[in-house]
């Protein structure tokens, strides 16, 4: 059968997902789509003998497979669909794993994983003991460098290239980085160094014009932030450079092939002449620019990659590939967020299966609270680093378009930018995930805390985060914030407390402050009108349950675990005290002293690493002489290892932070091992 281009359409098109550019009726099935060619490919070596047409068919089947698997497990869909052809081309041309292939952020690596021996494990994606949603060295030898935070691959690739040079090896090193990740400073640090060292390596700039996440505001697609996107667009229509090249080509043709050197030098001059057009941005940094290239045309990709691979000394080369996020799945192509991260969905309709919840997420409550504060105080502004949806600030943006700043993936800049705003008397709220704030830590210390500027940090995703795994886990923020001399550090135990703490932070105007809250939904407590919280007294905790002998002093969401633990303990006849510290800095000294005086044991509980809340309490108690008597202190913290991705419940078990663990700890300290064992047996049953 001939299609409109007069080409023979393969008969397989009558079923399965049609992932090509023809406007046929695409059919999507909930059953596994047939993938005859993909079934023969377990590792890249099985692809090496395929023809171009077969590689195109392989790409189509790979695309269907990705859609099918993500529909069953949830995960990152749009980005993976955008790089299907690129993945196939890279594995076809290069000899992985000897050739190193690095994926920035790693969420687009689903096709890569399918092609490198993990197709049968795709149903376990992002689940406990299953495949990681990002690239992980310990998972496969084809995963050259672990990622999760963005913009690290050029640096790592340069390191691998230089290491290869020092060893005298000959393999290729290829880093794939997106245009969003390109907004981060580290990418430029790396390119600058790469240009200087001049080591052979390839950087593939995967440009799909989606610079922020999720790739839309509430009301539609977000225009890319930053000047870089404009520059990248100009690259696609860079007239002067192209024309000059044409002239140069013509001249060399006329002169003849023997005058390569002069032509090469002329080219250098020509490049130097043209500034203001985008490609010279990369070339000024010392990378040879090739592009733009159609990222969905396998023929083009393979040609270019082969040529670059086959050229002996290239130095660093940047190939600018244009792709479309969500390509090949019409629902994704049309969605304003391009189906960046999805729950399980029905492939035939694109509808996601969202579990209905009684309460909103903490992220939503934060956004509402901030809006409520900003209604009354015009000085409040919000800053985030390319995470409008993830931090809930898209709502703030809609309500106050001029008071919400998306700086791109640039946490360091976000923090210092907020510091600058604070200097001018504004009240900046920096909403950055706990683990991403690690990237801006020096700025927090040096630019904010040292100068005592009143910047407020709202750290979402504190503690364990479930399917995203250790790269996104906010384990360390209590430790690294509470050790700063001027910082006020607090954590809400439920959503009402969160609203109050937003108000408290808004009121603290003479020093920096921060508060952390977990991923997940609220527990269901009464909320104030219009989400407007009331400021609480700084350094004041509260007692939740009055009891005896043992005091559970919880911080943040751990207070809920303590409450649950106290019910378990109560079943065995002991009523323990549960207190919510609320503040790690300044600590509620009076509360701690009173607990120390009236109990035998104090157990501090937090969902954070060592060196955080518990350590501060212990320090205080030691200095205050409270530990010199009969009092015992035990900390419950995240263990000294990285907790792998999985369901939140499984992660808590792995971390030893479940209510059952806490209850068992209580009995263990009191010497009642039988009760402790009973509790743990019930949990494990």
């Amino acid at each position: 059968m001939l299609d409109r281009f007069g080409e023979q359409t393969p008969t397989r098109r009558s079923y399965g997902i049609s992932a090509s550019l023809s406007e046929r009726e695409a059919e999507y099935h909930s059953q596994r789509p047939p993938t005859p060619l993909l079934d023969t490919v377990n590792y890249p070596i099985h692809m090496k003998n395929l023809s171009l047409k077969e590689l195109q068919q392989l790409s189509d089947e790979l695309r269907s497979d990705v859609i099918f698997h993500v529909s069953k497990t949830g995960g990152h869909l749009g980005s993976s669909l955008g790089v299907v052809e690129l993945t196939v081309a890279l594995h076809y041309v290069f000899n992985t794993p000897q050739d190193k292939l690095l994926w920035d952020v790693g969420h687009q690596s689903y096709p890569h994983k399918i092609l490198t021996g993990r197709r049968d494990k795709m149903p376990t994606m992002r689940q406990t003991n299953g495949l990681s949603g990002f690239v992980k060295r310990s998972e496969s030898e084809y995963d050259s460098f672990g990622t999760g935070h963005s913009s690290t691959t050029i640096s790592a690739a340069l390191g691998m290239a230089v290491g290869r040079d020092l060893k005298g090896a000959k393999n290729n090193v290829v880093a794939v980085i997106g245009d969003g990740a390109m907004t981060a400073g580290q990418a430029y640090e790396a390119m600058n160094n790469a240009g200087y060292l001049d080591s052979d390596m390839i950087v593939i700039l995967n440009d799909n014009k989606q610079v922020s996440l999720p790739t839309a505001t509430l009301d539609g697609p977000a225009p890319p932030v930053g000047a870089l996107s404009g520059a990248l667009s100009k690259l696609q229509s860079s007239r002067p450079l192209r024309e000059l090249r044409e002239v140069a080509k013509g001249v060399t043709k006329q002169i003849g092939g023997s005058v390569h050197e002069i032509a090469a030098k002329v080219d250098e001059y020509a490049r130097g002449m043209i500034s203001g057009s985008g490609s010279s941005l990369f070339e000024e940094l010392g990378l040879y620019y090739i592009g733009p290239v159609d990222g969905h045309n396998i023929d083009d990709l393979i040609t270019i990659l082969r040529e670059v691979k086959g050229t002996k000394t290239t130095g660093p080369v940047l190939i600018h590939v244009i792709t479309e996020k969500g390509r090949g799945y019409p629902y994704a192509e049309r969605a304003s967020d391009k189906y960046h991260g999805v729950a399980k969905f029905d492939p035939a309709t694109g509808k996601q299966f969202k579990v209905p919840a009684k309460t909103l997420s903490y992220t939503n409550y934060f956004a509402e609270a901030l809006i409520a504060e900003a209604e009354q105080d015009s000085k409040i502004v919000a800053i985030h680093a390319a995470m409008g949806g993830g931090t809930g600030l898209n709502y703030f943006l809609r309500r106050f378009p001029n008071r919400c700043f998306d700086v791109g993936i640039a946490e360091q800049h976000a923090v210092t930018f907020a510091a600058g705003l604070a200097c001018e008397g504004l009240k900046p709220f920096c909403a950055i995930y706990s683990s991403f704030l690690q990237r801006g830590y020096d700025q927090v210390v040096h630019d904010v805390d040292l100068q005592k500027l009143p910047v407020r940090f709202a750290m979402d995703r504190a503690g364990l985060v479930g399917a995203d795994g250790p790269t996104h886990c906010g384990a360390f923020d209590v430790a690294f914030m509470a050790c700063l001399p001027n910082m006020v550090v607090m954590a809400p135990s439920d959503e009402a407390e969160l609203l109050n703490m937003v108000a408290t932070a808004a009121a603290i105007d003479d020093r920096p402050s921060c508060f952390r809250y977990p991923r997940g939904n609220g527990i269901g407590v009464p909320l104030p009108e219009n989400y407007k919280g009331t400021a609480i007294e700084v350094g004041k905790g509260r007692i939740m349950i009055e009891g005896e002998r043992v005091a559970l002093l919880g911080y943040g969401s751990a207070v809920q675990y303590c409450m649950a633990a106290s019910s378990i303990v109560a079943q065995h006849g002991l009523r323990v005290t549960v207190a919510d510290a609320r503040f790690c800095k300044p600590l509620d000294h009076a509360l701690i002293r009173s607990l120390a005086k009236s109990h035998e044991v104090i157990i501090t509980v937090e969902e954070g690493s060592i060196g955080g809340f518990g350590s501060h309490v212990a320090q205080f108690m030691a200095l205050d002489g409270l530990l010199d008597g009969k009092l015992k202190w035990r900390p419950v913290v995240l263990p000294d290892k990285y907790i792998d991705h999985g369901s939140p419940a499984d992660q808590l078990v792995e971390a030893g932070l479940t209510p059952s663990h806490i209850a068992a700890t209580v009995f263990n300290i009191l010497g009642q091992a039988r009760e402790a064992l009973a509790i743990m047996t019930v949990q494990n049953a």
Binding site: S237, G250, T314
Partner: protein, 195 residues
């Protein structure tokens, strides 16, 4: 190369070959029709081709510059031109010509005021493919028209990266010459000596 002096683009070229970065050097003029037509026709005749009837671009029609003109500039220019060429205000003997112009100006505005269509148009211009031949496709907004435009752009991309690849190869032959003192070049020379 005496005959290189003929065209402006190659004049710039000659300067570069001769003297390197002299202060007085002026970058190649912003795409004269001559250079563009030459580029479109495949470069070998860059300094000998006499172009066909030089066609104005949408930017010329509106009298604005191609780079850096904002939506406001486009709109202001459109209003000026529309007032000038509207059939109702033009003298009767020029009515036909003015009507034709007016329609062109109208179309120019429609294309240039829409950011995505403007980008597509810019790319097509860069490849020297069209000026006003945009019209039939531009009228239709359905997916297949857009698809065809996209395909045309992308075939233009191919020409450019093929050129870049051949330059890369040329460069690589001289890359590790003795003058290149970069770390990478030193390591490559050392490896070449050892093997």
């Amino acid at each position: 190369m005496p005959h290189l002096a003929a065209s402006p683009a190659s004049a710039a070229f000659a300067v570069a070959v001769a003297g390197g970065g002299r202060a007085g050097f002026r970058p190649p003029p912003r795409a004269t029709t001559r250079a563009r037509a030459a580029a479109a026709s495949g470069a070998a005749s860059a300094y000998t081709a006499m172009p066909a009837q030089p066609q104005p671009t949408f930017y010329d029609l509106l009298g604005i510059s191609a780079e850096g003109s904002s939506f406001e500039d486009v709109r202001a220019a459109y209003r000026r031109m529309a007032r000038k060429y509207h059939p109702d205000v033009s003298p009767p003997d020029a009515a036909k010509e003015h009507t034709r112009r007016f329609i062109q100006v109208q179309e120019a505005y429609e294309t240039l005021s829409d950011p995505s269509r403007r980008t597509t148009y810019d790319r097509a211009l860069a490849r020297g493919v069209c000026r006003l031949a945009f019209s039939p496709a531009a009228r239709r907004h359905d997916a297949s028209a857009f698809y065809h435009q996209e395909q045309e752009e992308k075939s233009g991309w191919r020409t450019s990266w093929e050129g870049q690849i051949s330059e890369l190869k040329k460069r690589s032959t001289v890359k590790d010459a003795e003058e290149n003192l970069s770390w990478g070049a030193q390591m490559r020379r050392r490896r070449a000596e050892q093997s």
